[in-house]
Amino acid sequence: EAVDPNEKLAKVPSHARVIICGGGITGASVAYHLGLQGWGAETLLIEQDGVGGELPWSACGLAGRFEPSYTELKLAEYSIDLIKQLTDRGLPTGWKQVGSLNLARNFDRMTSFHRMKSLAVAWGMNCEILTPEQCQQHCSLLSLDGIEGGLWIPEDGVCDPHLVCHSFIEEARRLGVRIVEHCAVKKIHSEHGKVARVETTSGDISCEYFVNCTGFWAREVGTLSKPVVKVPLKAVEHHYLHTKPIEQLDPNTPFVRDFDGRIFFRECEGHILAGGYEREAKMVYEDGVIPLSQKARQYPPDWDHFHELLDALLHRVPSFRDAYLDRLTNSLQVFSPDCKWILGEAPEIQNYYVAAGNKTMGVSASGGIGRVLTDLITKGSTYIDLHILDISRFLGLHNNRKFLRDRCKEAPGKHFEINYPFDEFQTGRNLRMSPIYPQLKEAGAVFGQSMGYERPNYFDTNDKQDEFGLPRFRISQTRTFGKPPWFDHVATEYRACRERIGIADYSSFTKYDFWSKGNEVVDLLQYLCSNDVDVAVGSIIHTGMQNPNGGYENDCSLARLSERHYMMIAPTIQQTRSMSWIRKHMPEHLRAKVNVADVTSMYTAICILGPYSRILLSELTDTDLTAKSFPFFTYKELDVGLADGIRVLNITHTGELGYVLYIPNEYALHVYSRLHQAGQKYQIQHAGYYATRALRIEKFYAFWGQDLDTFTTPLECGRSWRVKFNKPIDFIGRSALLKQREEGVKRMYVQLLLNDHDHEVDMWCWGGEPIYRDGVYVGMTTTTGYGYTFEKQVCLGFVRNIDEQGQELAVSNEYVLSGHYEVEVAGVRFEAKVNLHSPNLPTKFPDREREAYHATRDKPDQADLLSFSSNLTVTRQ
């Protein structure tokens, strides 16, 4: 179907170092950037149809930087700069810097604008908060009915995606990239886990790298290899309205977004181009087969579906009522299940890169994506942390067509929704559930979803039954930037964990088993991890897996189950990602000898935490649990209740006394029931994720994906004591870390406690707030929360030291501690007290082990306070 057999087959070379599949704007940008890196002659771009992407009227052409995360914003910013640069060089792009005007109709939207404005300082973005009248000055067409204010981004603009794509293509050609049209990919072959050869309609091409930029078809192209590369995308209908030319329309009309009306519009060659993101999108191609030709993808417009958006548009700009219709187009768009772009190296096949799911923002995304993919291909790393966009954030379930169908109804609408903290999807739920899920639901759990896993966020015993008296499935909602509705529930859970005993479900955590016949498993882990893994059997170590730059690719706990068997516990979102990291960096000589198995789905993890947890567990097992025989940071396999073979770790990831029990699934309900029953006399209480999170933030524990990312090193986050430079193996990242130790760190992880913040009235910190030191912006918060013991807002974040010339200087403890700090929350600055190490919280239940332990420490050379663990090592020797 792809190519007319009568047509003369395009000629392709037999070899190319990089094959880019897809001649849309993303593929064109990748080709251009590869060309810039001098790889032009080794790059081939194939396109099943003609290059140039979408039909001219099926894209809005916004080049804007209003993105929900730093990564996305930076990529968009680069794209815009690139388009400007091309324009300056005289290439056609249609670029017009008209600015973007973002409108708010309610208080929460305004708050999100204020947050954006605060962030703008940190993110280097120019923007301005506007009153309704000022909004009208920027765009006189607007009706101010219901408008509370706006956000003006002067450097945003519009362009013609078609022209930009062609300019990329022309530039790529000039830089030596070969472009072959009417050539469709048939199969992607791999050898030894790496891309080797691509079969096309014009013949076979051997290659080293394959880049899937096929947009709509990315998911289908993913199925053309073995193993299948999972690119979870679903096509939905998406409308653009074009009017006929309107007289006296200002050619410099800004790009206007009325978020709460779910619409946007711009001026485009004398007429108006408008569109929007409806609450519930309409699915197309339910069977997953997407026609190849542009024409066959033209859907008749669904006016009824567009009605809401049309009315919102006419409400916002009354004069458009008299505008004449040119056309309403229904051009399809693909969305990923979390409404974010999909980038990076496929976890299934090495050297297979994906750049897809650019939603409707292809032009804002493509430049940055082209650059980072080129960096990844040519250098192995890039200038920005990409983990939130990384393709390895998905599991197989995300690629299930029925899941996509369910979820992607909701995804486009998220685009224009207020970015509330802890936002949850309503669709695609109840997918992965732990065996004790029904009990948790009955206990009043209100759930959040992570990697498809339903995890109790908090417990609310009110209104927990439906009309038939059955436990109701409830999804947690925050929907405010101030004091959240779940505050009191979390407070009681927090207190239970601190003063009595809490029980929490940790089942979603990533769990791997590593084993080998000989000592290979130790060799592998020593190479991958920065901490020394060759510890006494029964010990647990926290360690990072560093990348060559010293950044965290993974942060995990390793329990040495036996001489040659380790269990790894990592954050939930690491399930796919860390496996691909391990596979990719497995030394060749160990590959056949070490077994790595993802056992996430085999174990249920229940954590009991709090001062009574030891007594409780003692009641249910024969093993002596005193600190002497089962100390902190150790592991034992225990009988619990009538069950056996329970892997018990004496850690809680929150700083409380307690245990995490990894229970083979079939015993989970039994063990849970016993714990819960026996715990009644201690008033055991269910604790959700929000409570354990509050605990760890107060104790200054860093979490991967929230505080730590691929650009953060252990030295920057008070964990240099966990890096064992002296171990006999040259682990990944060692030299970079050594260098950093020499030069000093450029940023440092701190805890900030806000003074004079009234948690009842003031807006809360939700992460991403700028930190000021002596009035100068020095960094951003990562995770934040309310400290129920401190009774203060607690912020974790990174502090830099930038001098007046913009030069980054090393950050020392003295520098950090000598400053006067403020944190800006939605435009209001609060004074803050700074900490460099985990504080000891006042407690009625003092515990020597835990007081001695500081997850985050200010002195790299601080002596290891876990004396018992060295004792163990001694006995072993």
């Binding site: 009017t243 006929k244 008749p300 669904d302 006016w303 009824d304 009605h307 049309l310 009315d311 548009l313 006419l314 458009f320 009522r321 008299d322 505008a323 004449y324 219709l325």
Partner: protein, 456 residues
């Protein structure tokens, strides 16, 4: 009324019953009528209502009728087939009729019936054909009259033929037809001229859309011949001696027996007493004689004929037997069908009016569709929609249990609660009417602008 306890039917069963006799006909060629929708829900077993619709041949016209029988279904069935044939011949220009007669035309030469599934038994068919041939022979010799008179004459002629056929043959079947009765409502449409001829208590109502207010108005196109109609009562009383004042109409019925005051058949109320004694009593016994039967005929088949010239605001015509009118008033019926047109539009994709359209106009059109969406009907068929409302409407919308109740009543009592219901809804093509009248359509007029005419 004390209602018996009944098991409830499932929505599925209710739908099966309600939709059993649904029929829709879309005219393939563009004309004044776009389509008609019809349905029938029996109460009597067998159902005593009949209906027929036909296109007129040799000219551009449509004819349809519904017939509510009583004292058996026979008369209604016979009249429903024969009356249309009589009229199709009578309204044909005499010249054409004569030419056709030369080519040995039959009673079915002048019309094409839609959805016609039954025919007369073979023994009786020649008898009816003879009557028809006599009738057209006579017609061919007479000068043309206006449609109103032709309709009236055809009604009377057919009724007369029924009488003669019964008296002339000793067949129990023709006598059965003559002794049972039927009221009729017949619509004749040729060009823009609409004629409604009605005998008895069926009803015809035109749905008119006021383009200014967008409101639906009913326009009644017949007068019911029953005791509620004072003119009709006066007419009957005037036709009989003063002494009979107390007996002609008693208990709201003619001779205390018959509810409609005009009807086909029912020769027990038409023939002279002598004829009844000679021909009927021997066959059926004394009880066929009505009480106080002194000065026959008491009953006539003469229709009330109303003429109306269609205009583009006339959107549809509903004709229905009294089973429907027992539940719904004409204005309720018109608003139900009117809303149904709007709400049905949501089931089809939106069509933009041709030419330049303003966004505001589109928004308004969409709002209208949306209004329909909230009342998205269960039934596509307007007649079924009306039946469902007749049986199930409450202040809170359609109540399933109420419909279920009406449908599950046992055969021996059901007639006390509901009569046979027959409905035909004819939808006009406003654009075509406007063109014929040389007017430009007021826009935006929702039914006209959003539905597209089938290609001619």
């Amino acid at each position: 009324r004390l209602l018996p306890q009944l098991p409830q039917l499932s929505p599925y069963d209710v739908n099966i019953t309600l939709k059993e006799n649904e029929f829709v006909y879309n005219f393939p060629v563009e004309g004044i009528i776009r389509s008609y929708e019809t349905n029938q829900l029996g109460s009597n077993s067998p159902c005593e209502d009949s209906r027929t619709e036909a296109s007129l041949l040799h000219r551009n016209g449509f004819i349809c009728g519904i017939f509510d029988g009583h004292a058996g279904a026979a008369c209604g069935q016979v009249v429903s087939k024969r009356l249309l044939r009589y009229i199709s011949a009578a309204t044909l220009p005499r010249q054409v009729l004569r030419e056709q007669m030369k080519q040995d035309c039959t009673s079915q030469s002048f019309l094409k019936c839609h959805n016609d599934k039954v025919d007369f038994v073979s023994e009786i068919r020649p008898l009816y054909e003879q009557s028809f041939q006599r009738y057209i022979k006579r017609l061919s010799g007479e000068p043309s009259r206006d449609v109103t008179s032709e309709l009236e004459q055809a009604f009377l002629q057919l009724d007369n033929d029924l009488s003669e056929e019964a008296l002339g043959s000793n067949d129990a079947r023709t006598m059965g037809v003559a002794l049972s009765g039927a009221v009729a409502c017949l619509v004749h449409l040729e060009g823009l001229q609409l004629h409604v001829a009605s005998t008895g208590d069926c009803g015809a109502v035109l749905g008119v859309l006021d383009p200014e207010t967008n409101q639906w108005h009913p326009k009644k196109l017949n007068i019911e011949h029953n005791v509620e109609n004072m003119t009709e009562v006066s007419r009957i009383l005037g036709e009989h001696p003063h002494e009979e004042r107390e007996t002609v109409i008693r208990n709201g019925r003619l001779l205390s027996q018959l509810a409609p005051l005009r009807a086909f058949g029912d020769f027990r109320y038409k023939w002279p007493l002598k004829t009844l004694h000679q021909k009927v009593v021997p066959m059926f016994g004394e009880q066929v004689l009505p009480p106080n039967y002194y000065t026959p005929p008491y009953l006539t088949a003469r229709p009330d004929v109303q003429q109306h010239e269609l205009c583009s605001n006339d959107k549809f015509l509903v004709i229905a037997s009294d089973g429907l009118w027992d539940f719904l008033t004409p204005s309720e019926v018109v608003s139900l069908v009117g809303e149904h047109i709007n709400s049905k539009k949501i089931l089809e994709p939106m069509r933009l009016p041709p030419g330049d359209v303003k966004l505001q106009q589109i928004s308004e059109q969409l709002a209208e569709r949306k209004a329909g969406l909230t009342r998205k009907p269960i039934d596509q068929n307007a007649a079924t929609h009306l039946i469902r409302h007749a049986l199930g409407a409450t202040d809170y919308g359609i109540e399933h249990s109420k419909i279920s109740y009406y449908l599950s009543l046992p055969q021996d009592v059901v007639r006390l609660y509901r009569d046979d219901i027959t409905i035909t809804v004819i939808f006009f093509n406003s654009e075509h009417i406007a063109r014929l009248k040389g007017e430009s359509l007021p826009t935006p007029s929702p039914p006209a602008t959003t539905t597209q005419a089938p290609a001619a």
